[in-house]
Symmetry: C2
Subunit: 452 residues, 2 copies
């Protein structure tokens, strides 16, 4: 391990030295310092230097390493970076990639460039694979799968199988399982590399293969594919078309991307950010993603103003009535977000026999009643000590009602959104908070009006 730069540390000093070397066209320095460094670490360097400099370095390195570096770049860096490439250069790099990654990168290009790049791909297999994969929607199994895998005929023996692995050794980095197919290319089963290794040369695949293979169909949604792979603990899953023919393979690294993207999306929806932004995006990009929900919240606040205006007389005459608006609002918002988050979570795990709707509602009411009792008692005590017994009762009753309402909207909204095919995490965000704020004020003032 000593001579290899694993766990490479990117320092400002190295970055300065590299920039100087690029200016001085010191190819030896660049080659020496990057020798043996993992492509993911070189990508991290490329995320920091300008595109022209990065391209100068890339041109020095081996094409295969170059392709890996391009794959590992952050999305925005790559888009800017590839703008200075000729279609021929892009074609050469994507030819080195697995077909799924190649398609992802081609899809990021402007529509016009895309065609030019594909026409520059020399290898006919690669071109055919890319054409095939581009037909699928990005979010389904077909859009996730790669064409690179090892498939062998049921009737082959170990020698033929090893020959096939040898033939594909450059294309298939990680084998996981060897898939077993019939003459019509239909998936029959799988066999592990370990078992191939331990078998005799004249053993036939039919003697050692495992028919218990879990597969997914091309049109299955990526979130479902992730769920299947997680449930069965799979490293790779074969993809079949409607005729049961083996058409590709999805590997676990793609599934990790699906899981993290889903988590990021949920987090953003929950915090009222409307598109995938990062802290180091430009002020303008950040504003565009943040303003919409803030404006919706503001409109909610304006509606709230209207509501309060309807009760202006009461507020002017009843001492202390306005004091508890924040308390009612905050509680309604918090209860609503908690309720919707629990529903979103249970929708995500999709237990087979989860509680029925009736039992769910009953439980929701029980939790809300008890919560209302606790919070209502605390606030009654406080208002009582403040010297207003009747107002204390109004606040306690209003809290109970608001908690019940917020639990209900928090439970119902994600279920409805999910039914409509919208990500239910939206319901844990400013949407529910704003709605519950307004509901809360209305209920509070109505109850005050009735009882005082």
């Amino acid at each position: 391990m000593s001579e290899v730069k694993v766990n490479f540390e990117l320092s400002k000093e190295y970055l300065s030295a590299l920039e100087l070397a690029i200016e001085e066209k010191n190819i030896a320095f660049i080659r020496d310092t990057m020798e043996g460094v993992n492509s993911a670490d070189i990508s991290a360097i490329f995320d920091e230097v300008d595109s022209e400099m990065a391209k100068y370095v890339l041109d020095i390195l081996d094409n295969e390493i170059g392709a890996q570096i391009i794959e590992d770049l952050e999305h925005d860096t790559r888009t800017k970076f590839l703008e200075i490439f000729t279609p021929k250069e892009v074609a050469d790099y994507v030819t080195e990639m697995d077909s799924d990654d190649a398609v992802d990168i081609i899809n990021e290009l402007p529509a016009k460039t895309r065609e030019e790049v594909i026409s520059e791909i020399i290898d006919p297999d690669t071109a055919a694979h890319i054409h095939e994969l581009m037909r699928y929607d990005e979010d389904c199994a077909g859009g996730l799968m790669a064409k690179e895998m090892i498939a062998v005929n049921l009737n082959w023996d170990i020698v033929q199988t090893i020959e096939e692995i040898r033939r594909q050794r450059e294309n298939v980095d990680r084998i996981y399982s060897v898939y077993v197919i019939d003459d019509k290319h239909r998936l029959l089963g799988k066999v592990s590399v370990k078992n191939i290794l331990l078998a005799n040369d004249n053993t036939h695949i039919s003697e050692i293969y495992d028919t218990d293979v879990i597969s997914v169909e091309t049109y299955m949604d990526e979130v479902e594919v992730a769920a299947v792979m997680q449930k069965y603990g799979l490293d790779a899953v074969p993809v079949v078309n409607l005729q049961g023919k083996l058409v590709g393979r999805i590997t676990i690294d793609d599934i990790i991307d699906v899981i993290t993207e889903q988590a990021d999306e949920d987090r953003q929806l929950m915090s009222g950010i409307s598109s995938d932004i990062e802290e180091d995006d430009s002020v303008w990009v950040i504003l565009k993603a943040r303003l919409p929900w803030l404006i919706i919240g503001l409109v909610g606040g304006i509606v709230g103003a209207f509501v309060i205006r309807g009760f202006e007389e009461e507020i002017q005459t009843i001492t202390g009535l306005a004091l508890f608006i924040p308390l009612i609002m905050a509680t309604g918002g918090n209860v609503g977000v908690q309720s919707s988050t629990l529903i979103v979570q249970s929708l995500a795990t999709k237990s087979v026999f989860s509680d029925s709707l009736g039992k769910r509602l009953l439980k929701m009411v029980a939790i809300a009643m008890f919560t209302g009792l606790v919070l209502g008692s605390i606030s009654f005590l406080f208002v009582f000590l403040y010297g207003e017994v009747r107002l204390g009762m109004v606040v306690a009753i209003a809290l109970q009602a608001v908690i019940l309402l917020a639990s209900f909207t928090g439970t119902a909204t994600p279920l409805i959104l999910n039914r409509l095919g919208v990500n239910p995490a939206l319901a844990s965000g400013p949407f529910i908070t704003t709605a519950n704020d307004m509901l809360g004020i209305t209920v509070y003032l109505l109850i005050a009006n009735a009882l005082l």
Copy 2:
């Protein structure tokens, strides 16, 4: 594929038939219907039936399948389930598991049972592995790793290597890479099964192994291990101790668990739920997790009441002043949550050279100023149409101030929490919302008091 029950569908009908079969001790029915069904699907059945019934089925099935079923059970089901097992029975099942899973399950047992189970483990290697792994903290690489892996000496040839793989074939389900060590068991590199398969029998490992191996040390935090494996796209990573000796291996399935647990924890912190609960937990468990943050929010509301009380005179005399309390509160809360979420996200991705603190602050101010301008203008326009020019100005100015403050607390809080070693996602939850609500009201009323 036709004869194997893959993608098994769990139905209420099957569940009823199974319960009947258990009552009637119809072993043939149970064996027949479960033959070829994936253990993950049988686990899903066990999550639905009572422990005694599940144990009856488990006793019929093969021990190895049984061990997999126990691994796949939901945490709560498993705890209840294993209560009716003798220590000897538990010992027999954990012996069939990978050592990391065995330790996880033993750690779930009551302290007393734990010792009894370990003392019942017959195989000395298994017992030694479990003892070794129990020394490590659950959240570090040592706590994640398994002892099962293939390690070969640098000087071995392919025949010796294949012999070692054969010897370990039952223990190591998935090989990923074969690790290369020296006589002192220090990690030197790795070699893929593919390359072993394609090499000649008399080739030595030293000729074909790859020195570019990324490893982690036993004490590395699990979140960091996950980051390393994601960055470098690894399926498995070898674990070394401080002397560089190979002591275990972490596989990608464990990392997926780390990633999903982290996402769940973040989501719960963001929604004010204080522990890992699910919708179908009991009312009491749910209440215990939900009430603390609601009470904190309520206390915030009580503080808000005090603040408003300090300005009671202004509220009684200035027409419309109370109307805009909700608007100010909602905006402050929303801006704070957005800001903190962005920081939490960028802490999670840990870009090497992210913006400096100064640049960050400058950008935060720019975004806040512009946001304030937009939201302030909308609300000014509204209050102006309502007929109150001066109040409109107060609302607009207060909004600007509140947005700036909320951006600042939203940015600073997660950074401080992170520095203190607390999960920064906490800052996107009720904490920030409550703090910003109170800040917002105070600033609004102070500005009104000064300008009106």
